[in-house]
């Protein structure tokens, strides 16, 4: 009788039902509605679309000729590379270093994780002050070091760097904590055996830590790439409307701009579909590249 209770799945289904309904109502229904809206004529938020665009694929055709779409896709791909190298890469280095120190691991975990708990909007406002042209922190430091003229950190050529640096900084701690946890799961016996065999610290990292972390790094990479597609608030606060000259749009901020600022709601819906397609394709690519291994 004892084992029979696990065969009856009905109570489990009953528990799953509310969450399922919630997902249908607030995720799947809006998702399919967005796909439909991308073919409709809709120029007002909250309004009901009554007619299809003529032709119905107008928005998708427009996307091909819209230079800002290509700018936003290009910037988003750059953001993905930055998150992979800048967030996961730096997190790996930090995690390996912290794993090698004797005491104070917990302090570093807390310190590196801390930016995650601050709202991205607040961080955006803070970095606005840091990168302010006049009396911003960075320019003041450069002035103290003898630089004569002020640097406009939001100017066209450098704006992307200014936008991506805080995003990178914010999430390093997130991957750091995942990776440190992964390192903790590696048996000490492996390190001890390697030490007895005469392996140096670098060799232990190269031949034990990194290979054993492979699956964790894969997970972090998938999270980083898909997360880069969702980055929105911090770039929007720092560079509203793709400032300057619409060069800093990401797919998310451009979709928001079209939907909320210009009220081109149907085009915004089409951009949302593009983001989903990009997300699925890129997640597949990343999964293929960073394939997890069975040990």
């Amino acid at each position: 009788m004892g084992a029979n209770i696990y065969r009856n799945k009905k109570p489990a289904l009953a528990f799953l039902l509310p969450a399922f309904l919630f997902m249908v109502l607030f995720l799947y229904y809006p998702f399919f509605k967005t796909i439909i809206n991308s073919f409709m004529h809709l120029k007002q938020l909250g309004a009901t679309a009554t007619e299809f665009n003529a032709p119905w694929y107008t928005n998708y055709e427009e996307m091909l000729h819209d230079p800002h779409v290509w700018t936003s896709v290009k910037n988003t791909i750059i953001m993905m590379l930055v998150t992979l190298v800048g967030q996961v890469g730096i997190a790996i280095v930090l995690a390996l270093m912290v794993d090698n120190i004797g005491r104070g691991k917990q302090i570093f975990r807390t310190l590196y994780f801390f930016p995650i708990v601050i709202s991205a909007t607040a961080l955006g406002l803070m970095f606005n002050l840091i990168f302010l042209r006049d009396k911003g922190m960075v320019n003041q430091v450069l002035e103290m070091l003898g630089k004569q003229d002020l640097t406009d950190w939001k100017a066209e050529g450098i704006a992307l760097v200014t936008m991506m640096a805080p995003v990178m900084w914010q999430y390093v701690g997130f991957y750091f904590v995942i990776l440190v946890t992964g390192l903790n799961n590696i048996s000490d016996e492996l390190y001890e055996a390697a030490t007895i065999d005469g392996a140096t610290a670098l060799q232990r990292v190269r031949y034990i830590s990194v290979p054993m972390l492979h699956n964790v790094i894969c997970t972090c990479s998938v999270l980083a790439v898909t997360g880069a597609l969702k980055v929105f608030d911090l770039p929007w606060v720092m560079f509203p409307k793709g400032m300057p000259l619409k060069t800093t749009f990401l797919t998310g901020t451009y979709m928001y701009y079209q939907t909320m600022e210009t009220k081109n709601v149907d085009y915004g819906a089409a951009l949302a579909v593009l983001i989903v397609v990009l997300g699925v394709v890129l997640a597949k690519v990343v999964n293929a590249v960073f394939r997890e291994k069975d040990y």
Binding site: R133, K154, A155, M243, P244, L245
Partner: protein, 466 residues
């Protein structure tokens, strides 16, 4: 085993019910709050909620533009506090600075059914969408139940809606747009204070001197808020009589005036009269340049008087901390004129007012409070406090008491005394996505990436397709 099954079933049932209950309550709220054409149901749905407010306290959600650097931000806070004390009601204030983001937020609130009960908002094209949707109540409809509503206002000065020519918004205070000057920079650059006969050619000559002295002549963030320059640059190629006519296309006479206006801004940009970071800076940054003595001229609205005064206080919320010597260095004058527009022909009027939403009107608990709130804020005693150096729509406007005015307010009053005309802002009629090509697109226009004529044509096409 049976006991466990029952427990599991009960828990599952409770979860499903809780979700259903959440759905029901939000549905009821929607019925009460947003379905303007179902007043009979609304009171029933709301009937239980005010039980907690039986002590006479009604909570009104109010949105205004009296926030941030607006001259009346403090007046508004004081007035709300006084009204709350007088009536025992409470105000949930969601006011914000009047920029495009604020307008979008208000429009979205209406579209998604989460509009405020009362709002002080623009009565031009920006209010078209919620008037078309029937989400605000006309003054005439309110007067059917409250005959004295807005009776202290001059009817001719209450602006009618562009949608149906009905009057919805009770005006409180007017506005003007003019040019603020940092006189300290003018002195340093050897430039005389501009007067009533100031021309665009003189302005450019002055800008050249100011630039040579190492200052930015114009404080403006063209990539963020190009609105004031947009308005006056177009106005400078028209006259007060034609300014409010929206062109049919970029090729007609008025359309060409718009194109020339955009090209005039481009010329000033190419001459290097805007701050170096004008395309990447925010309006707050360029305003700070002006108040901190790094930029000489600032075209802005009457609400900016408060912002400048605030910047001269060590504590922006405490008038006692005002640095009078610093404030003395600021002045306000006319915007340089060109062609048929004299410098003293300014942009201004009564472009905002208090709306009562259908949602509040259909709620018997909130209706009285909403009317009381608007009547209080638009009373003969309150309006002069808000109008200050600007106009009002009062029938019996009292003499302005200048004894409590600061030096910049007095300068503003003197400047206003010399105006030859006050014309509304054409951008108030030209709202929505039609502005995108010339507002958001201003950086592309001034850098030459988009031809002004194309940008104007795109905007006009969007306007005529609305």
């Amino acid at each position: 085993m049976m006991k466990k099954r029952m427990m599991a079933a009960m828990l599952a049932g409770a979860m499903v019910l809780s979700v259903t209950a959440c759905g029901n309550s939000s549905g009821a709220e929607k019925a009460a709050g947003t379905e303007g054409d179902a007043p009979a149901e609304a009171p029933a749905a709301e009937a239980e909620a005010p039980a907690a407010e039986s002590a006479g306290s009604v909570e009104l959600v109010v949105t205004t533009t009296f926030a941030g650097e607006d001259s009346n931000a403090q007046n508004y806070k004081d007035a709300v506090k006084a009204w709350e004390a007088e009536t025992g009601n409470a105000v949930v204030d969601t006011s914000a600075t009047a920029d495009e983001t604020f307008k979008t937020r208000v429009a979205t609130d209406f579209e998604t059914g989460s509009e405020p009960d009362v709002l002080f908002f623009f009565n031009g094209a920006d209010s078209n969408s919620f008037i078309e949707a029937g989400k605000v109540v006309s003054i005439d409809e309110i007067r059917e139940e409250y005959p004295d509503y807005a009776s202290n206002m001059n009817e001719d000065l209450i602006t009618a809606s562009l949608v149906d020519n009905k009057k919805y918004a009770v005006p409180a205070n007017g506005f003007w747009e003019a040019m603020f000057v940092n006189t300290e920079i003018l002195e340093a650059a050897g430039v005389a204070m501009p007067g009533a006969d100031y021309t665009m050619d003189q302005f450019k000559a002055d800008c050249e001197k100011i630039k040579a002295a190492g200052y930015a002549p114009i404080a403006a963030a063209l990539g963020n808020i190009p609105h004031y320059w947009w308005e006056f640059a177009i106005f400078n190629n028209q006259s007060p009589a034609t300014h409010l006519e929206i062109p049919e296309n970029a090729g007609d006479e008025n359309g060409q005036a718009w194109v020339q206006g955009m090209n005039d801004i481009k010329e000033l940009y190419e001459l290097g009269y805007f701050p170096e970071n004008t395309l990447s800076a925010t309006d707050d940054e360029t305003f700070a340049m002006f108040t901190e003595g790094k930029a000489a001229f600032l075209i802005d609205g009457s609400w900016k008087v408060g912002g400048i005064v605030g910047a001269c206080q060590s504590d922006p919320n405490d008038p006692a901390t005002l640095d009078s010597a610093k404030l003395d260095k600021f002045d306000v004058t006319y915007v340089p004129g060109k062609g048929d527009r004299k410098a003293t022909d300014l942009v201004g009027g009564l472009s905002s007012g208090y709306f009562i939403t259908r949602k509040a009107w259909d709620d018997p608990v909130k209706r009285d409070a909403a009317v009381s709130f608007v009547e209080y804020l638009t009373s003969d005693e309150m309006v002069p406090k808000f109008a200050q150096h600007g106009a009002s729509a009062l029938k019996n406007a009292p003499e302005v008491d200048t004894s409590e005015f600061n030096v910049l307010q007095i300068k503003a009053m003197n400047m206003m005394a010399g105006t030859t005309s006050l014309t509304g802002a054409v951008q108030d009629l030209f709202a929505g996505d039609c502005r995108v090509s010339t507002f958001d697109g201003m950086p592309e226009i001034v850098t030459g990436r988009v031809v002004a004529e194309d940008a104007v044509a795109e905007g006009l096409e969007a306007y005529h397709n609305q």
